[in-house]
Amino acid sequence: MPDDQLAGAASAAKRVLESGDVRRATTRMAHEIIERNRGLDGVVLVGIQRGGVWLARELGAEIARIEEREPGNASVPVGSVDASLYRDDIGLRPVAPGSVSELEFDIDGATVVLVDDVLYTGRTVRAALDAIADYGRPKSVQLAVLVDRGHRELPIRPDYVGKNLPTSGEENVSVTSDGVEIS
């Protein structure tokens, strides 16, 4: 891509969430995960490579912080899954796997909360569901995303949403712990 095009894209970036908003959304989602899974028995967090991994860690840390007020509750295990070998667009576009999957706990019978930064077509989540199934048979799978930008192409819906963000298909959403930008 020519440089002037890149510069144009960068200047058109619109910040829709600040770092404080991201932090508050994460805290609220952590509360919702605790509320819905009373006691957090058998709950594990699994971030989808790459963008879901930091968010899963944040949620795990947040849950540990909240739960410390109630003694006797251990924090939830956090892992990551790389779904690139399960995608449905292999061969259609380049695949760049993130880091290697790290699931150091038993998936059989666990309540898996899949975590990603942006939910868009739903195809990454479908691939991640297939990947998880190769490690075991979870009791149930829930989905937590920081941003739901719409345009689903599969029957997939999130259980925990940080922010609903209507976008057009041409726009690009980038998420970090510093905030969310649309360009």
Binding site: R50, G51, D82, S84, L85, Y86, D89, I90, G91, L92, R93, P94, V95, A96, P97, V100, S101, D117, V118, Y120, T121, R123, T124, D130, D134, Y135, N172, V173, S174, V175
Partner: protein
């Protein structure tokens, strides 16, 4: 962004191929080694199989004997859910006088996505690559090249020494029949490409006439200083050509004897591409050498070949960087 109807940027010969380390280049090598980490994780699972290459067909065409390379490629393809075919020369129409080109074109017409080729003559994989639109993987051609062996060797050193980047600063000795060894050629190339210092240790009769690397006939002078001791197979058939006076003398001067094993640094890796001639190039039990990674080489071969197959058959056109970002 590509326009509708615009040609995709594949080469003029069709699909991409892996023919030599030089053509792959440092960037390509690092991409394969990083992918191999993912494949190794798949191989550690109770069910070591992923659906990545469903619907793809890989055909092994081996004109030379091979156990580990052929089985390794077949296992790699199956773990990625590709279908495999094995072309056995002994039962083929080549014995009825069909030319190699006609044979390849006939198999290609059955719908093959990749040919894995081993041949006794140097350059055959390049010829096949010109004849077919399918990907071609060189699984050893004559004395020339064996790029997947080189990749698995580099991957083995990298993982055994827990490195994430290249092999900068490592001192590596390649010992034995360098002249007739495609493994020596490809593995030396990849070690140097990744920044290691390679020394060739061989009798002068078993060195090619021109080499870029430093050479020596004195293994004892450097054995204490090497980080990796790579033993090449002494090809017994070469004995007829009188390159060495006797196998016993070869072992005395160039073999890994118990005395030399004592002098190795405790962290030094000992590698061998197999099949091993016990008592010739390796006169100790490798199971008793703390630094021996010879069985890891075999295990890593599957992960690396999965990475190669996935890179050639699974990656779409264009740069791998475009998937970056979180629009999906």
């Amino acid at each position: 962004m590509s326009q509708p109807g615009q040609q995709q940027s594949a080469g003029s010969r069709g699909a991409r191929s892996l023919l030599s380390i030089d053509e792959l280049g440092a960037e390509g090598v690092f991409h394969i080694l990083d992918l191999a980490d993912h494949m190794a994780e798949v191989n550690r699972r109770p069910n070591p199989k992923v659906p990545a290459l469903r619907g793809k067909t890989v055909c092994n065409v081996f004109f030379e004997n091979s156990t580990r390379t052929r089985l390794s490629f077949e296992t790699a393809a199956k773990r990625l859910s590709a279908d495999t075919m094995t072309f056995s020369v002994a039962q083929s129409s080549l014995n009825k006088g069909e030319s190699l080109r006609d044979t390849i074109e006939t198999i290609a017409a059955m719908g093959v996505d990749a040919f894995v080729i081993r041949h006794g003559s140097s350059g055959v994989p390049w010829m096949v690559d010109d004849w077919t639109q399918a990907s071609v993987i060189n699984a050893g051609d004559g004395w020339h090249a064996h790029p997947t062996q080189a990749l698995l060797d580099a991957y083995t050193v990298r993982t055994a020494l827990k490195r994430t980047g290249g092999l900068e600063g490592l001192r590596i000795a390649m010992v034995g029949d360098v002249k007739h060894s495609r493994v020596a050629r490809s593995t030396t190339a990849i070690f140097r490409l990744l920044g290691a210092d390679v020394t060739l240790v061989a009798p002068r009769t078993l060195l090619p006439p021109m080499v870029d690397e430093p050479t020596t006939e004195d293994l004892d002078a450097l054995i204490e200083d090497v980080d990796v001791l790579y033993l090449l197979r002494m090809q017994r058939e070469r004995m007829n050509e009188a390159h060495v006076p006797s196998l016993r003398e070869y072992t005395t001067r160039f073999g890994l004897t118990p005395q030399r094993a004592e002098r190795l640094s405790p962290n030094a890796l000992v590698m061998h591409p197999g099949p091993m001639n016990r008592g010739v190039e390796i006169a100790v039990d490798p199971a008793e050498l703390p630094g021996a990674v010879i069985t890891q080489q075999v295990a890593n071969g599957i992960a690396v070949r999965m990475a190669v197959l996935f890179d050639l058959l699974g990656a779409g056109p264009g740069s791998a960087e475009t998937l970056e970002g979180s629009s999906e």
